[in-house]
């Protein structure tokens, strides 16, 4: 499988709000740590090395 680049998450506005809410009240360092955990958890869930490499490359390239 390759990385999905079109809209794939129903109710993404909800998820976006949830993401912001979960960082609420955290220091910058705590937010970094939470993000790191989240990436690790999601990476394991996705479980496809190629997709992850594409995602990493895309994240890097967009900046």
């Amino acid at each position: 499988m390759s990385l999905i680049k079109t809209d794939n998450l129903p109710e993404h506005d909800d998820f976006y709000a949830e993401l912001l809410a979960t960082h609420k009240g955290l220091s910058e360092a705590e937010s970094h740590a939470l993000n790191a955990r989240l990436i690790l958890i999601l990476a394991n869930h996705i479980g496809e090395r190629d997709v992850l490499s594409e995602a990493v490359a895309l994240a890097r390239e967009v900046d």
Partner: protein
């Protein structure tokens, strides 16, 4: 130190009084790799002169963990049973974060191998066994207190200058194998440099003797309560000796840290008591580096002279022995019967590949243990945190991915219906055979391994392996039969379900030319 260091005898070499005829092979360095090299060459009928600047075995233990593959190689060198009998056999590793266990592994869950996954045995025992064995072999001329001070090479020979207690002399040989360790003087004399990383971290390595009763397991802690913020390792060796590694931080002073008054309190905290003696203490900074090429004309590098890794993964000595395994038969074929120099290229190609895998694994481990400040540390700490709660993250905790032989890249004949674990380029897997073991009957010569089929008569000894469930799992998969061509280093060279004489002959030719 508790080990009884007996100096080996120095004998004035003949070259001091009259020029010696050109030798076949000179080996510089009588560490585990040089000694193993000499015995392996002798097993293939090649005489060598081994030069070492010292006259005792390794001072302090250094290597303790010897892998299954090393034990299999030791078996061929004639010290396997001795190493196995003396060593502490272990296969369980436990990793702790603070004071809870987050992860454990079992290295050899399968039956049907003569050798266990690992034994722990001090390097000085290994060297002693190898020296004892080498001294029994007429083809080996072992010269202690012979220090190589200069190296040169010509089109068809290598030349060294040697210093002894009685003065200097010179020697020449068809080939020279540099097994002179991480600081390799031969490497410097040829103006060659290591490439790679150095980790800015100090590790205290101590061997202690205690009557304590720790399991025969590898225990590794991240940020233990007894040594906050750092990592620690505890591992059992024979003679009630335990290896303790403590990460110290980069800002520490190695000479201060080595002093007993500083070491002892740290170890008391690990053990929770003071009923122990220090046997050996050293402070190290680790590197993951290698030479770009392991062969330069008539000179080949093997062991630490060619590559160095951090010890978390036990890939130093073990990979040096795999160099020996790979180089021995190739150099012997060249020296004995002028086989293709392509064999030396293949040594270079295969063992730089092996070194890269070892370097990659060791650097990743070292990086996990000593993350740079910032995001590297964040990710590392969060892996540890998750590992305490969620199963998936446990395997991500990296305290060492332990030495296993690499699979050499190969384009040789293969049939992918056969099991992946024995594909061309892999070390043949052991299995019980009759009253003994498959690897013992493969020995150190090329073989055709035939399972449920006849092997063509091509002047290569045939080993017939009876089908058992283990043999099916390791060598057949769902195929009814298979024929394997096995190299002298017990690496699978090519394999077929069905084939003909020409195809097998072509694979044999490729093997002797270093193409597979």
């Amino acid at each position: 130190m508790s080990y009884d260091y007996q100096p080996f005898e120095y004998v004035a070499p003949p070259g001091l009084t009259a020029k010696e005829p050109q030798h076949k092979v000179i080996i510089v360095g009588a560490g585990p790799v040089g000694l193993a090299m000499a015995i392996e060459l002798a097993n293939h009928g090649v005489a060598s002169v081994v030069l070492d600047d010292n006259n005792v075995v390794s001072v302090g233990s250094r290597a303790i963990c010897w892998s299954k593959r090393s034990l299999e190689i030791f078996d061929r060198l004639g010290i396997g049973d001795k190493a196995l009998a003396k060593g502490v056999t272990w296969k369980i590793g436990r990793t702790f974060h603070r004071d809870h266990e987050v992860f454990n592994f079992d290295l050899l869950p399968e039956e049907g191998h003569k050798m266990p996954a690992f034994v722990n045995l001090q390097q000085y025992y290994v060297e002693q066994y190898l020296v004892d064995r080498a001294l029994e072999i007429d083809l080996i001329d072992l010269r202690f207190l012979n220090k190589v001070t200069a190296v040169e090479q010509a089109e068809d020979s290598a030349h060294v200058r040697i210093e002894t207690p009685d003065g200097e002399y010179s020697l020449a040989a068809d080939y020279l194998v540099a097994c002179d360790g991480a600081r390799s003087p031969v490497r410097s004399m040829l103006g060659l440099e290591f490439e790679g990383e150095l980790f800015e971290e100090h590790f205290l390595i101590a061997d202690i003797r205690t009557q304590g009763n720790f399991a025969s397991e590898r225990w590794f802690w991240f940020e233990p309560n007894f040594h906050p913020g750092q990592s620690a390792l505890l591992h059992k060796q024979p003679d009630n000796i335990y290896r303790i590694d403590l990460q110290l931080g980069w800002e520490t002073d190695p000479d201060e840290e080595k002093k007993p008054e500083n070491v002892i309190p740290r170890i008391e905290k690990v053990l929770g008591h003071s009923d122990f003696e220090l046997d050996w203490v050293s402070v190290y900074t680790f590197q993951c580096r290698r030479l770009r090429d392991f062969v330069h004309g008539r000179i080949a590098f093997a062991g630490d002279s060619a590559h160095v890794v951090s010890p978390f993964g036990a890939r130093g000595g073990n990979s040096g022995l795999q160099d020996v395994d790979n180089l021995g038969w190739k150099l012997a074929a060249i020296v004995n019967r002028g086989a293709s120099a392509g064999l030396l290229d293949s040594y270079n190609r295969e063992r730089t590949h092996g070194a890269d895998e070892n370097l990659k694994n060791s650097s990743r481990t070292t990086r996990f243990m000593t993350p740079a400040d910032g995001i590297e540390r964040t990710f590392r700490d969060q892996v540890l945190k998750l590992a305490g709660k969620v199963p998936f993250a446990r395997g991500w905790v990296n305290s060492g991915r332990l030495s296993a032989p690499c699979v050499y890249p190969s384009a040789a004949p293969d049939n992918i219906r056969l099991p992946a674990a024995t594909r061309p380029g892999s070390v043949a897997l052991d299995a019980p055979q009759g009253n003994g073991w498959l690897l013992q009957s493969l020995g150190g010569a090329p073989r055709l391994l035939a399972i449920n089929c006849a092997a063509p008569d091509l002047g290569i000894d045939v080993v017939e392996l009876a089908e058992t469930p283990m043999v099916r799992a390791r060598y057949l998969g769902d195929a009814p039969q298979a024929l394997y061509l096995i190299r002298p280093d017990q690496v699978v060279s090519a394999r077929w379900i069905e084939t003909d004489k020409q195809a097998v002959q072509a694979a044999i030719d490729a093997m002797w030319e270093g193409r597979a």
